[in-house]
Amino acid sequence: MNKYKLKVAITRFLLTSLVLILWELGSRYNIINSFIFSSPSMVIKSTINFLKDGTLIVHILVTLKEVLISFVLGIIIALIVSMLMYMKKFLHDVLDPFLTILNSMPKVALGPIIIIWIGANNKSIITMALLINVIVSIINIYTAFTNTDENQIKMFQSFKATKMQIFTKLVIPANIPAIISSLKVNLSLTFIGVIMGEFLVSKKGLGYLILYGTQVFNLNLVIMGIVILIILSYVLYDIIVIIEKKLPAR
């Protein structure tokens, strides 16, 4: 680690520590209301209790499972649809206005309908997350595909490459960075979708825990849920960054 990076890391650590210390002191000396604002020590205590009785792990695993399923499905659907739209202009021209409408629509408005149609189970949560992540991913990936260097495409065409050869040997590899960046966006949207879904219809998961904590006015629970969500999304985001670094440089 070079000197500059070390300086950045130390400053980040000090900043976080300062906020936590001020929060803890404020709560202990009644400068802020600990019932409403909780405190780091109370959150830690609550986390330990939930870990001991095993419920926290169950909630984390439920959310993690929903996130991973929605994320993987979302990216597979987005890749297939973008590929078909790129290969078949007709399909793009047909789908384009629908994608624009779906993208601008607040998807949470569809929540109650999804629950009625699919049922009050985790399939509704995954559908909610897919609705939120898949449209943006399709638009991002398709746009990247269409921005492939025209000269490189022309070079392939001059060698009489088929459309499939152009797609697999040029368009996909040329757009790996765009696909990775779409994975990152997709991940944050998936978390939003899953938590939104859990708010609407669930009996387990971090979204349920946060909502339950709010209903019973247990702010320790709410903050614990939020912190675990942040850690979870940070870890998954970091996995994508590691994969990105392992890929050959473009």
Binding site: D149, N151, K154, M155, S158, A161, Q165, K169, A174, A249
Partner: protein, 244 residues
């Protein structure tokens, strides 16, 4: 005469919002086997359109063209090198062969030899992104020649290079093409480039483009053309053709 390509009365129009625009009109010429023909014309006169038609990437409104073989192998060298930066120099050079499913050990070794011969020996396994502009154009040319084309089309291949690199690469490219005896058409708006590289120059007019004049160049391949007395005369004559 052994002709590689015969072009007959090619005519091409484009539909625009303000109506139809004639890009090229009634263009006819031929290219002999092993010959390098330069097509010179002002910017936007339809030179690239003509090359796209010959490459089979565009269709003329009327007219036709014939090669001396039924399924000619056409290699197209573009204004940019169009190398794939994530692939090695060797993989870039072999891409045409891979697309055409003609790759074999003998051809790989031939391409490696070409890379070695033209100053890319130390870069064979390096990523294309580390090469200089001139080196990239050499790789692009070797990529085109790897498929052993019946005809090589060069669309202003040096326009993105600086003057000094262009002069040196012109010389290299001319030598590589002549050594491989590849029939070629090069389009350019640079009269010097046409004079230095070709056996014949076809001068096109502004749009709608027609052939203004054809110059058979009386130059030997192995000498410095710039030092010849009639170099300047022909240069001036083409200059006048283009500015009339």
């Amino acid at each position: 005469m052994n002709y590689k390509l015969i072009v007959n009365n090619i005519h091409k129009e484009f539909d625009t919002k303000s109506g139809s625009i004639i890009a090229i009109s009634d263009i006819s010429f031929d290219v002999k086997a092993g010959e390098i023909v330069a097509i010179v014309g002002p910017s936007g006169c339809g030179k690239s359109t003509l090359l796209n038609i010959i490459a089979g990437l565009d269709n003329p409104n009327s007219g036709n063209y014939y090669f001396d073989t039924e399924n000619p192998k056409i290699a197209y060298m573009l204004q940019t090198d169009a190398l794939l930066p994530w692939k090695s120099v060797l993989d870039n050079s072999l891409i045409g062969l891979k697309i055409r499913k003609e790759i074999n050990e003998e051809k790989i070794s031939k391409v490696k030899n070409l890379l070695k011969e033209y100053g890319l020996k130390d870069f064979i396994d390096k990523k294309a992104s580390v090469l200089s502009g001139g080196m990239k154009q050499r790789v692009a040319l070797i990529r085109s020649l790897a498929i052993e084309p019946d005809i090589l089309l060069l669309d202003e291949p040096f326009c993105a290079l600086d003057y000094c690199t262009r002069l040196s690469i012109e010389k290299d490219v001319h030598k590589i093409i002549k050594d491989s005896n590849t029939t070629s058409i090069i389009i350019t708006h640079d009269i010097e480039e046409a004079l230095n590289m070709s056996d014949r120059i076809i001068v096109l007019t502004n749009r709608p483009s027609v052939i203004k004049k054809i110059y058979d160049l009386p130059f030997d391949d192995n000498i410095n053309r710039r030092s010849l007395p009639n170099y300047e005369t022909i240069y001036n004559s083409i200059w006048e053709d283009l500015n009339e």
